[in-house]
């Protein structure tokens, strides 16, 4: 096709673009809405296009699937739901963004799960929150809400129980100043919707029949020589090994896992809906609460996504860029220390390694507290800079940590654990993921790299100023729990390398690009900002319609999508290994459930 999209940035891989359009003359056309990139695919041709994109063009990594509800009350408005796919090459480079549109009242799109198994949970999420039916999905159940929940909470016309207004700020705060608690004025039951035929007074708790049916189906494919009875066991939701409220329904043959289905959503608070009610600025502290062990990385991703839309106004000055990298890498260190400590807890080394690791983490959190005001809920990034400069004495403390204490302590941790025969015999060869599986299941971060895929966004698709630093992409090749432990030690050392360079080059100067306004203007359009978070690829897909609030705010949560492969890792192994496998993925439920 000869036509050029005027809005698409020319630098973003123009060769692939024309290639895609040439290949599918009739099925694909460039997205020409102002501020949009990518291609609109005809709904009926989606699977064909996705197959060719994977097999012929090398976009083998399906990073993110999400839906957007384009809805307006206006009588002549064109309302539809758009499903957005972000494809990447596992060898690096920019995104290929495909979109399909489907009507709101009968939303049906073909499922990509048979092609990309990593689409499984993401499609279930879109089905749950937007009501899009994915035809051909092997297990299309609700994932965050419970079966029988009325409506689809992310749709624009759905209203939460304590609904106040379409968007913040609410009028009764200012100028009206009428103080009351919304739950007093609008008590429970008044604004609750139930599905048809549901009577809360006569409600009897029933087991989730759909879940157990899936478990049974999976069990039928399992064959053993001796006919034994299988039992269903629920691990969780309240169990220390699940790192939060998370449940795994497993079907056991003796002690062997026959089938496993993760059940989540206990901590679901509709983060994305809250994000759409919030103004752009208000979302920043909310991102802290996703992966609460790595709030700086969460801030980073969101700031990147919004700054992409803001253009020149959103470019942070040099010092802020360096501060961002320093904070993000310190976060990675504190997160990995925590992950290692608690993986060892899951292995049975109860709390001694965890406390040794936490001691170092605590020193990093002190740095965060002195700089940002809070240990974990940092809320440090602003659009076009950072909130505060380093206070007196903190730079010296960071230098002492990076150059002296942390290298020493990481080596100590390495000596303490890595060669330990008990650790090795419990973790080597357990939960093996092959590189092909790791890519197909859209795993990210340490899980992906421990399986021999050297994919690190800091290198593959650099953001911020990461292209200036020399570091190695840590990679291990066995794909077992032991390698997922070792890769975190490797990454700790690489983070220290980056920190050393960043601290050496940290320039003086401004920390904000211009003023820090309490309301920002974000031009209409869409953007996808992704960072290499400690747990993997953390992406924010945002759509702006030029108003004060995001029209769509989606979080591609690495711990959520990494869980897709959990069943694959666990089947055929023992119950005790499930706990270790889960620990080696390193999930945070605040991010899984959002």
């Amino acid at each position: 096709m000869s036509e050029q999209t005027p809005t698409a940035p020319a630098a973003a891989a123009p060769i692939e673009k024309s290639e895609v359009e040439k290949r599918f003359l009739d099925a694909v056309k460039a997205d020409e809405r102002a501020g949009y990139v990518g291609y609109l695919v005809e709904t009926s041709k989606l699977v064909d296009v996705a197959t060719a994109v994977r097999d012929e063009m090398g976009y083998d990594y399906l990073s993110s699937i999400t839906a957007v509800d384009y809805f307006s009350d206006a009588p002549d408005a064109k309302n539809f739901i758009e499903v957005v796919y972000h494809f990447y090459k596992s060898t690096g480079g920019g995104a290929l963004e495909l979109k399909v549109q489907t009507p709101r009242d009968n939303s049906v799109v073909a499922s990509l799960t048979p092609l990309y198994p990593g689409a499984d949970f993401q499609e279930r999420e879109a089905y749950d929150l937007y009501g899009v039916t994915f035809e051909g999905h092997p297990d299309l159940r609700r994932i965050l809400m419970w079966e029988g929940f009325a409506g689809h909470p992310m749709r624009k016309d759905w209203k939460e129980a304590f609904y106040e207004d379409e968007a913040k700020p609410f009028k009764n705060r200012w100028p009206e100043g009428q103080v009351y608690r919304i739950e007093d004025r609008n008590p429970y039951n008044k604004n609750n919707k139930y599905p048809q035929g549901f009577d809360p007074t006569n409600f009897k708790e029933v087991d989730d029949p759909k879940l157990y049916e899936v478990l049974e189906r999976a069990a039928r494919e399992y064959t053993e020589d001796i006919d034994t009875e299988q039992v269903v066991v629920n691990l969780g939701p309240q169990h220390p090994s699940t790192h939060g409220v998370f449940r795994m329904a497993v079907r056991l043959d003796g002690e062997t896992i026959v089938a496993l289905k993760p059940v989540m959503g206990y901590l679901h608070r509709n983060h994305e809906k809250i994000g759409e009610r919030n103004t752009w600025t208000m979302n920043m502290p909310f991102t802290d609460r996703l992966d609460y062990l790595a709030s700086m990385s969460n801030n980073f991703g969101y700031a990147l996504a919004v700054e992409k839309l803001m253009g020149d106004k959103g470019t942070p000055p040099e010092r802020a860029q360096y501060l961002r990298v320093i904070m993000a890498e310190l976060t990675r260190i504190s997160n990995h220390l925590w992950a290692i400590g608690f993986l060892l807890n899951d292995l049975g080394a109860f709390f001694t390694p965890a406390l040794y690791a936490i001691e170092e983490r605590e020193l990093i959190l002190d740095v965060f507290e002195a700089t940002t005001g809070s240990r974990m809920m940092c809320n440090y990034f602003r659009f076009g800079g950072v909130a505060r400069d380093l206070p007196d004495g903190i730079l010296e403390k960071i230098k002492l940590l990076v150059h002296d204490r942390l290298p020493r302590k990481i080596d100590e941790l390495d000596i303490y654990l890595s060669e330990n025969e008990l650790v090795r015999s419990r973790s080597e060869g357990v939960g093996v993921i092959t590189p092909e599986e790791a890519i197909a299941f859209s795993t990210a971060g340490p899980v992906l790299r421990a399986s021999g895929v050297p994919y690190d966004i800091r290198r593959a698709d650099p953001y911020g100023i990461y292209d200036r630093f020399k570091f190695d992409v840590a990679v291990r090749y066995h794909g077992d729990v032991y390698d997922r432990y070792m890769i975190r030690i490797d990454e700790l050392r690489q983070s220290l390398q980056i920190l050393g360079q960043a601290l050496k080059d940290l320039p003086a100067g401004e920390i904000m690009n211009g003023k820090n306004p309490y309301q920002v203007r974000v031009p209409a359009g869409e953007s996808y900002g992704r960072v290499e978070g400690p747990k993997g690829e953390l992406g924010y897909y945002i759509v702006s319609n030029g108003k004060g609030n995001p029209a769509r705010y989606h979080v591609r949560a690495p711990s959520f999508i990494n869980l897709t492969i959990l069943e694959k890792m666990c089947v055929g192994q023992k119950v005790a290994d499930v706990v270790v496998n889960l620990g080696s993925i390193d999930i945070v439920l605040g991010e899984v459930d959002r």
């Binding site: 200012w174 100043g177 040794y356 002195a370 025969e421």
Partner: protein, 222 residues
């Protein structure tokens, strides 16, 4: 040799164990526990041995930037009257992510014009997420984040919507908990005041010079 890794690991735990006693011996004569100096050392980069803090007998000092719930700053003039810095502009209520700030305004009964100082000011501290936006975006330095984090109470409905009386604290308190911020803000204010004064002086000078100029001209011709 099988077991060597375990032995090496045990050696690490042993050194940690011994360290805690060595540190105590090193601190012989000085108190390592229940003193400010001791707490400060245990959380420093050189900390070895025991690093825990025995709350509530010992408390970690909070850094200046530490933020908990907001409070309102008021000035006290020479006669002892309190004046809120707050002008009810509403930026804090508009930027608050969980929307926990309510501002009640009033108007002057005689002139019918809005009074800058708020009649009342509410913060629901249960909803407050301690993000610090209100303090960050307040153009009048009227709302600041407090350091007092021990505020549990028995009844959330009666106690946890703070009104203006409960929120207000004097400037001296603010200067006490955030000395660096306070000095910086005062310096900016003094600079602005100086600029304003200079501008006003220049204006006044120009004003006196301008009418003075025409008479001056005839004066010169005289």
């Amino acid at each position: 040799m099988y077991g060597l890794g375990i032995l090496k690991g045990m050696w690490v735990t042993l050194t940690h164990f011994i360290d805690s006693y060595v540190e105590d011996i090193k601190w012989m004569g000085r108190k390592r526990y229940f003193t400010e100096e001791g707490v400060e050392h245990r959380r420093s980069v050189d900390a070895k041995g025991i690093f825990t803090v025995q709350y509530p007998e010992e408390k970690l000092p909070v850094p200046e930037e530490f933020r908990y719930v907001p409070f309102l700053v008021y000035e006290v003039d020479e006669e002892g009257n309190k004046h809120d810095r707050c002008t009810s502009c509403g930026i804090c209520a508009k930027v608050c992510p969980p929307q926990c700030i309510w501002i009640v305004r009033t108007e002057d009964p005689v002139t019918k014009r809005p009074v800058p100082e708020p009649v009342d000011f509410f913060v629901d501290v249960d909803i407050c997420m301690n993000c610090g936006y209100c303090a960050e975006y307040c153009p009048f330095d009227a709302i600041k984040m407090d350091h007092d984090y021990e505020m549990a109470s028995f009844d959330r409905h009666a106690e946890h919507i703070f009104n203006k009386e409960k929120l207000s604290k004097p400037v001296s308190y603010y200067a006490g908990i955030r000395p660096a911020n306070y000095t910086r803000e005062e310096a900016i204010k003094a600079e602005e005041a100086a600029k304003k004064a200079a501008a006003a002086a220049a204006k006044a000078a120009a004003a006196t010079a301008a009418p003075a100029a025409p008479p001056a001209a005839p004066a010169a011709t005289e």
